[in-house]
Amino acid sequence: MTTVAQTHSTTGKPTPKPPSAAPGDLAQTLTRPPRSLWRDAWSRLIRNKAAVLGAIIILFFVFVAIFASSLAPHNPLQIHSGQGFLPPMWVEKSATGKAGTPEFPLGTDNLGRDVLSRVIYGARVSMVVGFIPTIIIVIVGVTIGLTAGYRGGAIDNLLMRITDIVYAFPDLLFFIIVMTALRNTAIGQFLNGLFLLFVALALVNWVGMARLVRGQVLALKERDFVLASQAVGSPHRRIMLRHILPNSLGVIIVAMAFLIPGAIITEAILGYLGLGLRPSTDPNDIFITSWGSLLLEGQAAINNQPWLLLAPAICVALVVLSFNFLGDGLRDALDPRLRE
């Protein structure tokens, strides 16, 4: 991390003056210890209230996703016969003439399954869909972006041509086509269809990440510290991994914060179209239902039990908004020059 601090000292707080000043000044300047870029960024981030709130909400949903099985009041697949379309607990008389009970805080669906428990299990799918493709995208995109930017030549040209095609293809339409066409193949059934969604998301989004990293590399390659490293004979691999990559990390992290909500929205849309996760009927499955599938189920019952639709919609909005606030905060914190 010290390399980062040195190379980026221009963006950080002013470093102490060199000890050539008078002895009295020296004592004064040394009262404030030098701080690294990451420390600086962190202190800027935690002063940003919207970003902190976003991070707290995200952590809450991650927690809910991990401990879904202990947090859910009911089994999300358990059918309570005769208790279908119950309204939320605070409603005394719903459109169907039923009263809510504290047993089902957000009411039940047409089969009498607990809405709250289903939404809690849905958080699991959304978090997984948000994080796993993003990790794949970062690994593939950063590797290719680094190589293309640093080496240039054929691989760089190829990357730019692929970008042209991917940008012309409306990405949502691509996801729809992939999910429709391959849904019934072996790969489409793996992990209830989640695996195919990961692959499709990664296939489209690695290009943007690679291009972003490539641009960073092209700018950093000309900097003096890279030249200095080349002059002392460091191998290319070391220059890429020790100098260029750490200095691009800020941009990569910010891009990740915006990729995750994009993936969550994509899952919700595909689920709403009936192309997302296959709803499971096995209570031992880890992934039982998703917010997208819940939206699809809720659509049919919009008059009888609006919370079937509202609950997952609020969750999607909350999570996506939180990631955007966190992303904005991270951008401001990691690169104050980018601030609008």
Binding site: L173, I269, Y272, L295, A313, F325
Partner: protein
């Protein structure tokens, strides 16, 4: 500039071919053919299927015909050849209708803009107009009143608009307006009444509105810091003249150039909103095609949408060349 434009236009051909190739290949991985599994109609027996396949050329190889007279006499290249002439093939589910007729043919004695695609185009145009009418002034005001409560609220609204997807907004609006307040009919049947268009257009255009607000604001802020604004002030021009003549004229260039892609994005991205509101556009048709597994319909619509996006992106490059002489293309 001219050579650049020609190259840029010609580049569309390989891009569209690849989009078609990807879509075509994926669609043929899906099980089922055009003549089976239609639960609403009489099943087609094997010999009729064979005849229909021959009639539509579906008995030919997928990509390369090594046995026939011509190597390109295959399903893919015939599809491309027909598509270029405006023939997107028969719909697999709406029997007897061609894909292009479903999308572009208006009902009897109606003008062309009453076709499915025409409906979507008009909805997109309305959404874009509303987004621009509200977004541009809001962005300008936010920039002029920078760091005031007004600026912060504008930024907050636009963050919500950019991040929350339109179909989630649609859910909130439908439940509040239709369910709780009873103002709106959940499923509209009569779209001849212009007021019925307002709610779906608002929902559809909200994200674009937020984006336009942000773009106008940041573009204004950039222009406000330029030397020529200081010069204009120094020579004693009034605030209004500086804003309209010097700032807006420059600040609105990026906003104008995104209008094309924004419209393309709205038209191609409206399918969820359309199916939620029961709007009779090509987007709803697309969603129906997905749930009916009408592969030729999905393929045709995708190609039209991709072409729309490619052309919209092309207009950006062309417009920049005309509007901003500082841009020099190499």
């Amino acid at each position: 500039m001219t050579t650049y434009l020609i190259r840029r236009v010609l580049w569309i051909i390989p891009v569209m071919l690849l989009v078609a190739l990807i879509t075509f290949t994926l669609m043929h991985q899906a099980p089922g053919g055009p003549w089976d599994r239609d639960l609403n109609r009489r099943q087609v027996d094997a010999s009729t299927q064979e005849m229909l396949n021959r009639q539509f050329g579906l008995d030919k190889p997928l990509f390369f015909n090594f046995e026939g007279e011509h190597i390109l006499d295959s399903q893919f290249f015939n599809y491309i050849g027909n598509a270029v002439q405006g023939d997107l093939g028969p719909s697999y589910r709406q029997r007897g209708r061609m894909v292009q007729d479903v999308l572009f043919e208006p009902p009897k004695n109606k003008p062309i803009w009453d076709s499915k695609f025409g409906y979507s185009m008009r909805l997109g145009l309305l959404a874009l107009t509303m987004a621009a009418i509200f977004g541009i002034p809001l962005g300008i005001l936010a920039a002029l009143k920078r760091n005031t409560i007004f600026d912060y609220s504008a930024l907050f609204i636009s963050t919500i608009g950019i991040s929350v997807p339109s179909f989630v907004l649609a859910i909130f609006l439908i439940i509040v307006l239709a369910g709780q307040l009873g103002i709106l009919k959940i499923i509209q049947r009569d779209w001849s009444n212009p007021a019925a268009w307002l709610v779906p257009a608002t929902v559809l255009g909200f994200g674009t509105f937020a984006y336009i607000t942000r773009l106008t604001r940041s573009s204004m802020l950039e222009v406000m810091g330029q030397d020529y604004i200081r010069t204009a002030r120094a020579k004693g021009l009034g605030g209004r003249v500086i804003i309209t003549r010097h700032m807006l004229r420059n600040a609105l260039i990026p906003v104008m150039t995104i209008m094309g892609p924004a419209l393309a994005g709205l038209v191609t991205g409206s399918f969820i909103i359309e199916s939620m509101f029961g709007f009779p556009g090509s987007g709803r048709e697309y969603v129906l095609a997905i749930s009916n597994r009408d592969y030729s319909m999905i393929m045709g619509t995708t190609l039209i949408y991709a072409l729309l996006i490619v052309l919209a992106n092309l207009t950006v490059d062309i417009m920049y060349g005309f509007l901003d002489p500082r841009i020099k293309v190499n």
